[in-house]
């Protein structure tokens, strides 16, 4: 599925509280005791505390103690907003990277077309895997707006289409996936591959003009792998090939690229970068161990052992918790104050 989160342009998508929490949690520093001693008095009902929602690789424990019901809370000071100009270079670098991925994808599609023409299912599946993984390395590019249709044609799934896989709108990588992992003769898929070829070239031409805002770019730091959980390892987007691990690995690469370009912008803020690095290393190591156990090849979802599945899901979750702190340290403006609803008898007409 290729739904991408629509950025909420108004209203500071990026999170007053995220920053606040991060500041409170990390600012308080050190390890927080995660369990209340049995003899300790109960927390008064008017307050609550959440402790240790996530432990980051034993390096640091996040903890939140907050008050609700209007009890006084002293918000931590906001970080100064990041100037929009600071994103120019990271986004330009990523755009160049993405264009390069599409170029590599075109070469894989040519391989795919050759294999399909030769009616060679094994070679065609291998080429499809390479092409698909390349496409998912685009990662941080919001393929919305003018290129939304192209994205649907290239990577759209049958869900949401009236008629499902029989819909004339169902095309591209997943249409070919359906044929390659079912009984269709590979040669019959050649038309779809040629159309894919055309669409990818068109997208590569359009990519330099596709808008990537700082807000979107910062948000994609965690959304690429959110998509992997929701759509890829769940199997939702790869119902026939089951190649969710391969696709997730592509998402990890895209995420690493985003983080690498943002590293100088984030700097030392909130200690986000060390946490992200630690978690991404653990995730990459998990993926490597899985590949090693499967003869150097990333297995389909269904071939993961339970232990491998737990390891991959767990390290991915850990990476996501760390990555979800990124947008909060990259706000480009202070969150706006929400105006109060005036009492009924007050007219505020101009």
């Amino acid at each position: 599925m290729t739904r991408r989160r629509v950025p909420v342009a108004a209203a500071a998508v990026c999170v007053a509280l995220g920053v606040f929490l991060a500041v409170v949690l990390l600012g308080s520093g050190g390890r927080t005791q995660t369990a209340r001693p049995a003899s300790a008095p109960l927390t008064p009902l008017a307050t609550y505390s959440l402790r240790a929602p996530h432990v980051l690789s034993t390096d640091r424990i996040y903890s939140l103690q907050g008050l609700v019901s209007g009890a006084p809370v002293t918000p931590a000071p906001e970080l100064p907003p990041t100037p929009v100009s600071a994103f120019a270079r990271p986004i330009a670098l990523y755009r160049a990277y993405a264009v390069g991925q599409l170029g590599a994808m075109e070469r894989q599609i040519a391989r795919l077309e050759g294999a399909l023409a030769a009616n060679d299912r094994v070679a065609a599946r291998a080429a499809w895997r390479s092409a698909y993984a390349r496409y998912l390395r685009l990662g941080a590019v919001y393929l919305a707006g003018e290129v939304a249709t192209l994205n649907q044609q290239i990577d759209g799934t049958a869900s949401g289409l009236t008629g499902g896989v029989a819909s004339p709108q169902f095309s591209g990588l997943h249409r070919i996936e359906l044929g390659l992992w079912t009984e269709a003769p590979p040669r019959a898929l050649l038309g779809w591959a040629r159309r894919l070829d055309v669409d990818v070239r068109e997208l590569r031409g359009a990519l330099p003009r596709v808008s990537i805002t700082p807000l979107e770019y910062a948000t994609r730091a965690h959304e690429i792998l959110e998509d992997a959980v929701r759509d890829l390892l769940s199997g939702a987007d790869v119902p026939w090939s089951g190649e969710g691990v391969l696709a997730t690995e592509a998402g990890v690469r895209a995420t690493e690229e985003v983080i690498s370009t943002l590293r100088p912008v984030i700097g030392g803020a909130e200690r986000v970068i060390p946490a992200v690095d630690t978690e991404l290393v653990a995730l990459r190591s998990a993926i490597a161990s899985i590949a090693a156990a499967h003869g150097g090849r990333l297995p389909p979802n269904g071939q993961l052992t339970q232990r491998q599945s737990v390891l991959l899901n767990g390290t991915l979750g850990g990476a996501l918790e760390a990555l979800s702190q990124v947008p909060g340290v990259l706000e480009t403006e202070a969150p706006p104050q929400i105006p109060q609803i005036p009492p009924r008898d007050v007219r505020i007409d101009p």
Binding site: A11, T157, V229, I341
Partner: protein, 427 residues
């Protein structure tokens, strides 16, 4: 009365009684003794120590009435939704199954001691709730899907005007194995064991005629205040149901809920039930900033008040915020119910339940909302709202994976009647 129904538990019991034998009489005596034992166990002093409120267990919601129960009835804590397909070979068998279903459902909503008829026969009730079935405010709401009106039973001409197979909306990823169906049973009660027992008994009653197609269990968030009126929370932690039209207003229910004009005569007083299993990607949601969450919904998470307000039931005053500076134009509450004169007749009565059912292959919790809406016209109401919601940013955090469109017939008129009887009077 109906012919003998081999599937109906009550009829089966009656047949056993009619057979008369020694077992029958002895069994009755035993049932009576069991009932007395159970009655003495409900002495108030003992009850005070129980976790379960006896008053709550003894609450009854009448099965019969102009409209079925479980529509305007306030949602209790527990629910199960079970879609069934008919495998009845003919119209007469389907009719018998429906009669038996209502009969058994009515009996369970009344409650009472379980008769023990023959010690060497399987017990007539699973007995999961003990020797006496407490009603526990049980409601069983029986609804029909469009497929029941295909050619099999000659019901095509009586299909409710707007009853169709639920369309696939653009955000849907419908799994055929948990979508649609000939019938939908909505079973609600305060306690989980009551609901579980009811499903088991009802399925037994119609075994061989109506078979499970998909099912899901639901629960309501507990009433955690601050006032008894506050709406419970869904699994995105926001209050759900705040803007429901008041069920205490019969004229409004006639405008928004009950089907009438243009419907076949048997369907008047029924309602369309939209049931959608909406997976909520809760881990993803939890990694989104608080203000973004609140902007997506349009409400303050803690209080449930519209943004800029302090009270859950406060008017969001969109008239003072035409540009969405306070509540974004794409916020869920604003998109779902813009509160304009033009959208007033699009309002729906929601009666959803949270669900949780393990986790998926990606290790993500399989949780969400069993969305239920009752409305007079799914075209004018539910589908119109749903299409508008395709523009809201929240769609990235949810995936509708199943459910269907159903029609809830009017209620049975008494013990001699049954839900759906109107379908069979013409012939």
């Amino acid at each position: 009365m109906s012919p003998l129904d081999r599937r109906g538990f009550l009829t089966r019991s009656a047949a056993l009684l009619g057979a008369g034998g020694v077992g029958g009489i002895g069994g009755l005596a035993r049932a009576s003794a069991q009932a007395q034992g159970a009655a003495s166990a409900t002495a108030p002093s003992a009850a005070q120590e129980w976790n379960v409120s006896q008053a709550q267990l003894e609450a009854r919601e009448p099965f019969d009435g102009p409209h079925q129960a479980g529509i305007l009835t306030p949602a209790p804590a527990q629910a199960t939704f079970a879609a069934l397909d008919s495998i009845a070979p003919d119209r007469g068998t389907l009719r018998e199954a429906l009669q038996a279903l209502s009969r058994r459902a009515r009996e369970l909503t009344v409650g009472g001691p379980i008769p023990l008829l023959e010690v060497d026969a399987p017990p007539v009730d699973s007995g999961v709730l003990g020797p006496v079935n407490a009603p526990d405010a049980l409601t069983v709401t029986i609804a029909f899907g469009a497929s029941l009106f295909d050619g099999r039973y000659g019901l095509g001409a009586q299909r409710p005007r707007e009853l169709v197979t639920m369309p696939t909306f653009a955000i849907d990823d419908l799994d055929p194995a948990q979508s649609h169906g000939d019938m939908l049973l909505q079973i609600c009660a305060h306690e989980r064991d009551t609901v579980t027992h009811t499903l088991r008994e009802l399925l037994r009653t119609v075994r061989g005629s109506l078979q499970l197609r998909w099912m899901i269990d639901g629960f309501s968030g507990a009433a955690r205040g601050p006032s008894p009126h506050n709406s419970p929370r869904n699994l995105f932690a926001f209050r759900d149901g705040t803007a429901n039209p008041p069920t205490s207003d019969p004229a409004l229910m006639d405008q928004l809920v009950w089907a009438g004009r243009g419907e076949p005569a048997w369907a008047v007083g029924g309602t369309y039930q939209v049931a959608r299993i909406i997976r909520m990607h809760v881990e993803f949601w939890d990694r989104v900033g608080m203000s973004e969450q609140e902007n997506m919904i349009g409400r303050v998470r803690a209080s449930g008040a519209p943004l800029g307000g302090t009270d859950e039931f406060e008017d969001p005053r969109y008239d003072l915020d035409p540009e969405g500076k306070r509540i974004p134009l794409t916020a869920h509450i604003r998109t779902a119910n813009p509160r304009t004169p033009a959208t007033a007749d699009q309002r729906i009565l929601r009666r959803g339940f949270n669900y949780t059912r393990g986790f998926d292959p990606a290790g993500a919790l399989d949780q969400g909302l069993m969305f239920v809406a009752f409305n007079q016209s799914p075209t004018r109401q539910f589908a119109t709202v749903q299409k508008r919601l395709l523009a809201e940013p929240m769609i990235d955090y949810i995936t509708p994976v199943g459910g269907g469109y159903f029609f809830v017939p009017p209620g049975a008129r008494g013990e001699a009647d049954w839900v759906g009887s109107g379908l069979f009077v013409a012939t």
